[in-house]
Amino acid sequence: MIKGMATLLGFQLTGELAARLGHLPISGPICGMAALLVWLHLKGEVENELGKASDGILANMAILFVPVGVGAMSYASLFASAWLVIVSAIVIGAGATLLTTAFVTRTLIVWTARRVSDVEDQGRLPVSQ
């Protein structure tokens, strides 16, 4: 667990350094995630300790958003005056993103699968069992 946590922090640090030194517009932890992914790719496996630490922290990830969420209390007056716009923008915007993402992905997956099977039917590719 400790070794796994140290690995995660090490990659976060790597990510922060890369983001700052490279003046990247992306946050350090996201860079760290990319760096860890590359590392896992090179190693070819997730070692036990890292797997345990990651699974543990990800299983409880939701609580980590509570401190920033409570920050909404600082904007009480803004919410009082513009709540309708804020709520509709958030709800409608989120709904639009959610369904567009799901349906575009679904449609393209079905479409590419059909094309592959068409090609296979014509016997140009061996059908893998």
Binding site: L8, I30, S54, L58, L78
Partner: protein, 230 residues
């Protein structure tokens, strides 16, 4: 020791309220309104308001929880790596879905704001709401928004998406973990990922991927887009 300004009190309080929220969520069999983060945030705001504790004081004392967001984000690489074969196979549909979904979100948000005639700061801060909070703050600042407001909107969007997203997806007949995870990550970033991880690790992997890619893509595209639409 002054207990009212010590991490012990606020960390304990936050964990206790979250534990109660989890219990309520369990007893209501995961009702969307009983989302643990939503309940905890409402409960804590009510308590802090009643006790007249200001937010800066609270936040400074729960830094430990907030800090763990960093390593948690890095840890998302693990489920992603475990499901890499599926990601690679559907790379093109995934990227197209992310771009269309993010664009749909930004355009509807900007349209609603324009219709309501609200100012640029609020509009810019709202347009980054589907990006993970730390990245949203940076982008919002770049395009004329307020970083702290952007963080709050990002978390609110995460909360709404985590609460109602899975329900809406099921209603609309979206059942495969790939699409469910992807849609949740693109819309509600880390919170959507945390929520959908409870359904399956595979869905969580796709959510983590889409959260990372959305942050990456939007960091580059949104400042360009903002010049056109804001």
């Amino acid at each position: 020791m002054d207990l009212s300004s010590a991490p012990l009190l606020y960390l304990g309080l936050t964990l206790a309220i979250y534990a109660i929220a989890l219990e309520i969520n369990r007893r209501t069999r995961g009702h969307p309104l009983a989302n643990p983060v939503l309940l905890s945030v409402c409960g804590l705001i009510a308590l802090l308001w009643l006790a007249r504790v200001d937010y800066q004081n609270y936040f400074a004392n729960v830094q430990l929880i907030h800090f763990l967001l960093g390593p948690a984000t890095v840890a998302l690489a693990v489920p992603l790596f475990r499901h890499r074969h599926k990601v690679r196979r559907a790379a093109l549909p995934i990227i197209a879905g992310l771009i269309c979904g993010s664009a749909a979100g930004v355009f509807t948000t900007v349209a609603i704001c324009a219709a309501a005639g609200i100012d640029v700061t609020l509009k810019a801060s709202l347009s980054t709401k589907s990006i993970t909070a730390p990245v949203a703050m940076g982008i919002a600042e770049q395009i004329g928004g307020a970083p702290s407001l952007a963080a709050v909107f990002a978390v609110l969007t995460g909360m709404i998406g985590a609460a109602f997203g899975p329900w809406l997806l099921t209603k609309c007949g979206v059942r495969a973990s790939l699409e469910r995870g992807l849609a949740m990550g693109t819309t509600s970033h880390g919170q959507g990922t945390a929520r959908i991880l409870q359904e399956s690790e595979e869905a969580g992997a796709f959510a983590g991927l889409s959260m990372g890619l959305t942050a990456l893509g939007m960091a580059v595209l949104l400042p360009l887009l903002a010049r056109l639409v804001l």
